[in-house]
């Protein structure tokens, strides 16, 4: 083959590839998360979780829709300036109006979800989160694709109180911002069924700026003599500082949160000292190998790519949230936000790739069953700084049993948007 023929063949092949690629209809997915500053401690692992999820499919030719047609996935990241509602909306405008994304993963922060509800719905961009936060029947393109936050706070604290009857006093440590406010309401709702035997001894929200004086923040909490401290709002680094401060003060009780970056914690406190005392429940923790072989494989990919020290449970949370979108794409005739939404809501359950059959719920809270109630594994730390499964909470069952007690507390905390 002479040079000219080679060039022509290569050109035709390249054109063919280009044509094939465009015929594939690339699925554009936006991830709106903090990419800079302190909040990037949350945003970067979440973004990586989505990227690895996409890479898994792309390496095998793409994700197939219901017709069997495969699509490559392109992930684009957008900064929201540490969950600022206005910046969340600016990021959505970029993603939807300019980059034509089909799906977006965003925070569960209620203010941020409210800010984008209209633009997501008007443009039929399926917008999901690792939890619910805010949903509304008027905005059907806003969904919560796993139990996640802030619901998990309610289920976590309730599970601990149910299984550890020696807990009599609980301190709730939450930041004074939109998602801290949500967490406070959900923690209180989770405690309500046990109100006769459990006392909330501390629940004063803190100003995020005050975390520079961690000992000052920890001292009144320690003085309230809790048996269990549940927190939400610390960055991973601050969590480690908080535990260190509490341990220095002599605290011997339990800790609960959506997740702990144990690599940072055990740099300060020996893992053995915290074994059996630090609990988490967000969505799934991929570093624990027994719950799901698929997320365990994801964990290995993550560590291989970014290193063990970079591991954060938030990556697996984002990965899990995307697997619900994945289930929708595979059931839809085309990978559009509208078609995938319809495919997901064909029945009142979804065969969730990681959690199995899960029910749509949330009507009592949000006026719409747009929140997928996936079973919630609760993790506890071991003496090596790793985690093991303490229990798996059947959240749909818990909700049916306790919603009458929990709903008024959630409403008081401004978390019920049904009929609004």
């Amino acid at each position: 083959m002479d040079l000219m023929t080679r060039i022509i063949v290569a050109g035709v092949f390249a054109c063919g590839l280009t044509g094939y690629a465009s015929a594939q209809e690339t699925i554009n997915i936006g991830v709106v998360q903090p990419q800079a500053g302190e909040c990037a401690q949350w945003g970067v692992p979440i973004t990586r979780g989505v990227q690895i999820w996409a890479e898994e499919f792309n390496a095998n030719g793409g994700i197939a829709d219901a017709t069997g047609k495969k699509h490559q996935i392109k992930v684009t990241t957008y900064d929201n300036n540490c969950y600022t509602a206005g910046d969340e909306l600016t990021a959505f405008r970029r993603a939807i109006l300019d980059d034509k994304v089909n799906f977006i993963l965003q925070t569960f922060t209620p203010a941020s979800r409210q800010a984008v509800a209209q633009i997501a719905t008007e443009n039929k961009v399926l917008t999901t989160s690792y939890g619910a936060g805010y949903l509304n029947a008027k905005y059907p393109f806003l969904i919560g694709s796993v139990t996640g936050s802030p619901g998990s706070y309610m289920f976590l604290v309730s599970h601990l109180l149910e299984t550890r009857p020696d807990i009599k006093k609980v301190a709730i440590v939450t930041a004074d911002h939109s998602f801290g406010q949500a967490a406070l309401a959900y923690y209180k709702a989770g405690i309500t069924p046990y109100a006769k035997r459990v006392e909330i001894v501390y629940s004063q929200p803190y100003d995020p700026a005050s975390t520079s004086d961690m000992l000052g923040l920890a001292t009144p909490i320690f003085a309230s003599s809790p048996d269990l401290i549940v927190e939400l709002g610390f960055t991973p680094g601050q969590q480690a500082l908080f535990i260190e401060a509490m341990e220095q003060l002599g605290y011997k009780g339990l800790y609960g949160s959506e997740g702990w970056t144990m690599g940072l914690v055990t740099e300060r406190i020996p893992a053995a000292q915290l074994a059996g005392r630090v609990f988490s429940a967000y969505v799934v923790d991929a570093s624990e190998p027994s719950f799901s072989p698929r997320v365990s494989k994801f964990y290995k990919s993550y560590v291989e790519k970014y290193g063990q020290k970079e591991w954060s449970v938030l990556a697996s949370v984002a990965y899990a949230a995307m697997t619900t979108v994945e289930a929708g794409i595979q059931k839809a005739a085309a990978p559009t936000g509208d078609a995938v939404r319809q495919a997901l809501f064909t029945t009142d359950t979804v065969d969730q790739p990681l959690f199995g059959k899960s029910h749509w719920g949330g009507a009592e809270m949000y006026g719409a069953n747009n929140w997928l109630l996936t079973p919630l594994p609760v993790y506890v730390t071991d003496d090596k700084g790793g985690v093991k499964v303490d229990a798996v909470v059947d959240v749909a069952k818990w909700w049916n049993a306790n919603k009458d007690a929990a709903l008024p507390v959630l409403a008081q905390g401004g978390q019920v948007s049904a009929n609004k």
């Binding site: 957008y78 600022t84 509602a85 910046d87 970029r94 300019d98 209620p110 406010q181």
Partner: protein, 311 residues
């Protein structure tokens, strides 16, 4: 040769026209960028007015919040005031707040003025968080309406028109102030307060006037922001926006109206060019401000390049 007033008027009209023309030919996304550019332009022009009295306030974005919350609160039940009236009210409330604030903070100078306005802004932001019954606390107030005066309130292009008109009107007002005797006295106080006072000028009153009139513009911009975004929350009152306003003034200079607007245009372009690597934008902005400070011949004078353009 065009005088300073004429150049300022021309600048404002050109920016207003450019916004509308850009909105006509641009994509829906560009339209959104232009709307935000227009609203931040109101913020930088009003901020420039404050700088003429010799102080660089760090409360401008918090004062903008007064305008935002005014629209959020008064446009909803039980008040249900028309949104544009609420925007105007926001400007008035912001000016009133500035009048009250000017009593303590305008007794300070230089770093102390900067620090006292920073503290006042933070205190105001905390009020927005703590007065939950009125402001919605940390979650803020969502689903704020667009002005009903627009034929199609959901139309972004019509909102851009509104922003452009308000920007031009406010700009003309600030230009007239700048060229007036009062404006010249404010600048004289800003440049040498002791000398101005020795000539019988009431320095404190003139500084307060600059601060109040500048804050009025911030309140108007805040109201427009709340209406356009449909939400007002304390997190929207953030240091990054304050930094952007200050950086626009530092990079472009504050001598004439074109300075802060060009500075803002430059920062917006950087933001858009580097939008796919957003983690680098704050670093680039920071580097630009440092470079501008090093390159500027004197504080508030702007870059040499700007002086050439402006000559």
């Amino acid at each position: 040769m065009m005088g300073a007033l004429h150049r300022d008027i021309a600048t404002i009209i050109i920016v207003g026209l450019a916004l509308v023309v850009g909105g006509l030919v641009g994509t829906p996304y560009i339209l959104g960028v232009l709307i935000i550019f227009g609203m931040v332009s109101i913020l930088v022009l009003s901020y420039r007015t404050i700088t003429t009295m010799g102080g660089w306030s760090f409360a401008h974005v918090a004062i903008m919040g007064i305008g935002g919350y005014s629209v959020a609160i008064f446009s909803k039940a039980p008040f249900e005031v028309p949104v544009l009236v609420a925007v105007a009210l926001g400007g008035v409330f912001a000016a009133l707040f500035a009048a009250i604030l000017s009593w303590p903070v305008l007794r300070t100078r230089q770093y102390y003025f900067f620090l006292s306005t920073f503290a006042a802004g933070e205190a105001l932001r905390q009020c927005f968080i703590q007065i939950k019954e009125i402001t919605g606390g940390t979650a803020g107030i969502a689903f704020i309406a667009r002005p009903g005066i627009l034929p199609d309130p959901s139309s972004a292009f019509q909102f851009l028109w509104l922003v452009a008109v308000i920007l031009v009107l406010l700009g003309l007002f600030y230009a007239a102030l700048d060229a007036s005797d009062t404006g010249k006295k404010i600048k004289a106080v800003g440049e040498d307060e002791a000398l101005s006072s020795s000539l019988g000028i009431d320095a404190w009153a003139l500084r307060a006037l600059g601060f109040i009139l500048g804050s009025f513009g911030a309140g108007i911009a805040g109201g427009l922001f709340a209406s356009y975004n449909g939400i007002m929350s304390p997190s929207d009152i953030n240091a990054m926006l304050m930094f952007k306003i200050v950086a626009a003034c530092v990079i472009g200079g504050t001598a004439r109206f074109s300075g802060p607007l060009l500075g803002l245009l430059f920062l917006t372009l950087i933001e858009e060019i580097f939008r796919f690597v957003p983690e680098f934008v704050p670093m680039i902005w920071g580097a630009l401000v440092i470079a501008a400070i090093i390159l500027s011949q004197r504080a508030g004078g702007g870059l040499k390049l700007r002086k050439v353009i402006n000559a």
